[in-house]
């Protein structure tokens, strides 16, 4: 499209401005989106110098010398730059385009989904320039490369691929470029969506890339030789290639003393085991092998189940469904009503369900233990993936008892180990990641 055609198409919008300026000596014409452009920049860079310029050739020189201002050829199409907040200037039928984009939300936000107690408190902002600045400030090293990308046919979302050239594996980078080139979508809004677009297999379960809002995690992972994708309009960034261990490590792990950290990590893995296996274990023990535990315990379980008329798996499914609904509801509700929902759901419903003989009181304890343990997982996407893992185990346990439970866990770990992430192993006992913060052991393999 020629320049005139573009202007014709765009002028149908109410916020598209077309202004003819006259300083008494010569005329210029400006085209821009009032909503996308910063009036201050336009004033400072265009209208103010324009007022003091004597003749058109001086103004040509002024525009050629201005920062981020390009002269357009007759066949250039200014559509995409106009839509990104550029100003089109017409002077003697020569067009210039000057960047004057206004930025929203360029303040770093407070970390809201990955808290640390004594670490850095701010997260990334929703503006990609600010994010890149934060990343550069925290990683002031000459080998940090930022490659610009544009993703999405319609949204044309800006993105940066960030990596340390010295440390990042070239093979990983080659695969990353290949995956990013494959991205086929109209709009790209969030990094989680980008992850889904990048991965080939449609049916995925465990996340293989970390979604984080913490600049310190990004810095740490850059130093480990991973790459980071920053996306405009979201405070979250995508870090890959990740191993399973990364999803269970909080940034606090580097800010505490060695023994404290290690104990916390062990605790997190125990919580992981509880959140996955406990409902299945309950079904297996109650319905198949109550004799596994001591007699007193078996009796007290049976006593608490005395009023419950159903087999144990129905009880588990009722309770697990309620708690999942509660978690989902409190996520979507505004925070004012959220606390009401938790009180009604957790306290009243739980108590009443037990009194009504719908579920046993031990089942209430198990449900809460499962839910609490699930929140221990630091990275949200993994916590969601693990929420699902207990259902196949409950199914197997209700069909085959303890054997089914153990077989299910074996299959689960084999599934995770079979996942491949940029040609690397995803789930291993000894990950062999480099120790950049001094806490991870490296493997001599």
């Amino acid at each position: 499209m020629s320049i005139a055609d573009t202007v014709d198409v765009l002028k149908q919008s109410a916020d598209f401005q077309r202004e003819l300026l006259d300083n008494g000596r010569f005329k210029i014409e400006l085209f821009y989106f009032a909503t996308l452009c910063d009036k201050l920049v336009i004033k400072k860079d265009i209208t103010h110098p324009y007022l003091h310029t004597a003749d058109p050739s001086d103004f040509h020189d002024m525009l050629s010398a201005a920062l981020s201002c390009t002269k357009l050829n007759a066949e250039d199409d200014p559509m995409s730059s106009l839509l990104c907040g550029y100003v089109l200037i017409r002077l003697d039928n020569i067009y210039y385009s000057l960047e004057a984009a206004t930025s929203i939300n360029n303040e770093p936000l407070e970390a809201s989904s990955e808290m640390t107690l004594q670490g850095p408190q701010s997260a990334f902002s929703e503006n990609i320039k600010t994010n890149l600045m934060i990343a550069r400030k925290r990683y002031p090293y000459p080998t940090l490369i930022a490659e610009q990308l544009t993703l999405g046919k319609v949204s044309r979302t800006q993105a940066y691929l960030l990596y340390d050239k010295e440390k990042c594996d070239p093979d990983v980078l080659r695969r990353a470029h290949q995956m990013l080139n494959q991205v086929q979508a109209d709009t790209v809004m969030a990094v989680g969506q980008l992850e889904a677009l990048m991965t080939k297999t449609k049916i995925r379960w465990f996340p293989t890339m970390i979604i984080t809002e913490r600049p310190d995690r990004v810095t740490y992972n850059l130093a480990q030789g991973k790459f980071v994708i920053l996306l405009d309009g979201t405070p979250y960034s995508l870090v890959a290639p990740a191993v399973f261990y990364d999803f269970l490590s909080a940034m606090d792990d580097m800010y505490q003393s060695f023994i404290v950290t290690r104990s916390l990590i062990v605790m997190r893995y125990v919580a992981l085991l509880i959140t996955i296996a406990l409902p299945g274990l309950y079904v297996a023990v109650v319905s198949y092998n109550p004799e596994i535990f001591r007699v007193q315990f078996a009796l007290s379980v049976a006593g608490s189940r005395a009023a419950v008329p159903y087999p144990s798996f129905i009880e588990v499914i009722i309770m697990l469904f309620l708690i999942e609904a509660l978690v989902e509801a409190s996520l979507r509700l505004p925070s004012y009503i959220g606390s009401t929902a938790t009180t009604v759901g957790g306290l009243i419903l739980g108590q009443a369900a037990q009194m009504a003989g719908l579920v046993s009181s031990i089942m209430i304890i198990i449900t809460s233990a499962v839910a609490i343990s699930n929140f221990v997982v630091p990275i949200n996407s993994m916590s969601f993936a693990l929420r699902l893992a207990k259902y196949p185990l409950v199914l197997l346990a209700s069909m085959f008892g303890l054997v089914g439970l153990v077989s299910g866990m074996f299959a689960l770990s084999l599934y995770a180990a079979n996942l491949e992430n940029f040609g690397r192993q995803y789930f291993r006992l000894f990950t062999g990641e480099p120790a950049v913060a001094g806490y991870k052991e490296s493997d001599s393999n």
Partner: protein, 369 residues
């Protein structure tokens, strides 16, 4: 690298209690079982060390590739096919035996056919995974369960009622010549190294440090698997039990434990070990058999191969049929037969590999003058 070698070595060491090795040995405890144990340590360690040393001359190569360089395909294909089937049968024996065990000790109400079907389908799925994934899971299962195994061993040795006299009685029957079957059963625990016939592909170099650990661990585990049942069940009564080790573990009690009966702990970890063992053997068996098929069967369909599923499914279906048509007695007879054939073919494979390694070594020396 070294640690992976010992994981595979250990899994075979630990699985022997399910493989009826103690049962076969204890049935003939007065007719040469002790001598079989002593000979097995010698024979098993020698085979393991010769195989490992020879295979280290072929870095990153599995048995099919090595054979391809030395043998014509008329010889190579039947041998590899035979080995693949042997591997498949090893897994099948464990899966059938373990489904009997679960049905008897853990969930007597579940239908045995359903249990076998569950095991078969999980292992069929598992054995079509990548070899690297199976190796990682081996590490996880072994490292997590080994402390529990050590605890059970410790628990059984410090039992107040452990009858050392019975063990001493057995020492009177040391110098009796063992039969081939006994020797075959006793050497089975040493056979873990053979999995590297294929998994050598996944490692750059087969360099194993501390090879002296093989006879040491071997002796300890082998004698433990005989002595503990005798000490706990008594030298004459021990012959009456079918699943010797599980009955022996059932005599133990943890007074302050969350789980009171040790046998549940034992069964719990052995579900993991059995599934892992079957996954490993079926994976190797499938890969071996696939190597013998003509190239046109290895077509990929949208990036996924169908042939491994077909081969693994065939093995699983055969196992299911074998499992529902066999009983405990027939099972032991077939295990004995399999073990005897295995020892002979294992010696054959080790000799072949040693000859090839020697050949390669000599060729290189001639080339370098």
């Amino acid at each position: 690298m070294t640690r992976y070698y010992y994981y595979f070595f250990l899994i075979c060491m630990l699985i022997n209690t399910i493989f009826f090795v103690p049962r076969i040995l204890l049935a003939q405890r007065f007719e040469g079982a002790v001598m079989a144990l002593i000979l097995a340590v010698l024979v098993g360690s020698t085979l393991a060390i010769v195989f490992t040393k020879s295979l280290s001359r072929f870095p990153g190569q599995g048995l099919p590739e090595i054979f391809a360089g030395f043998l014509p395909s008329v010889l190579r294909i039947p041998i590899i096919l035979y080995l693949g089937i042997m591997w498949g049968i090893a897994g099948s024996i464990i899966i059938v035996a373990f489904s009997f065990i679960t049905n008897r000790f853990l969930s007597p109400e579940t239908s045995p056919r359903l249990l076998l079907l569950c095991f078969c389908s999980i292992c069929c799925w598992a054995s079509t995974r990548k070899a690297s994934a199976i190796i990682s899971v081996t590490e996880i299962v072994i490292v997590l369960n080994l402390p529990i195994v050590a605890f059970i061993m410790y628990k059984s040795y410090i039992q107040k009622h452990f009858d050392w006299d019975s063990v001493k009685i057995l020492s009177d029957y040391t110098f009796k010549p063992p039969s081939w079957t006994l020797l075959a059963a006793a050497t089975y625990p040493f056979t873990g190294y053979i999995n590297f016939a294929l998994y050598n592909r996944n490692f750059k170099e087969l360099k194993v440090a501390h090879l002296w650990l093989i006879p040491v661990i071997g002796t300890f585990v082998l004698f433990t698997s005989i002595i503990v049942p005798i000490g706990l069940l008594g030298v004459s009564a021990v012959g009456d039990y079918l699943y010797t080790w599980i009955s022996a573990a059932d005599t133990l009690r943890m007074q302050y434990g969350f789980i009171e009966r040790v046998v549940y702990l034992f069964l719990f970890i052995y579900i993991g070990f059995s599934l892992l063992f079957v996954t490993i053997t079926w994976n190797i068996g499938t890969q071996m058999i696939l190597d013998c098929l003509p190239k046109r069967f290895k077509k990929t369909k949208r990036g996924r191969k169908a042939t491994p599923w077909i081969v693994a499914g065939t093995i699983a279906a055969t196992t299911y049929w074998f499992g529902i048509s066999s009983n405990d007695k027939g099972m032991i007879d077939s295990v004995k037969l399999w073990l005897s054939i295995r020892l002979a073919s294992e010696i054959g494979v080790v000799l072949l590999i040693a000859w090839m390694a020697w050949h390669k070594h000599r060729k290189r020396r001639i080339r370098h003058g």
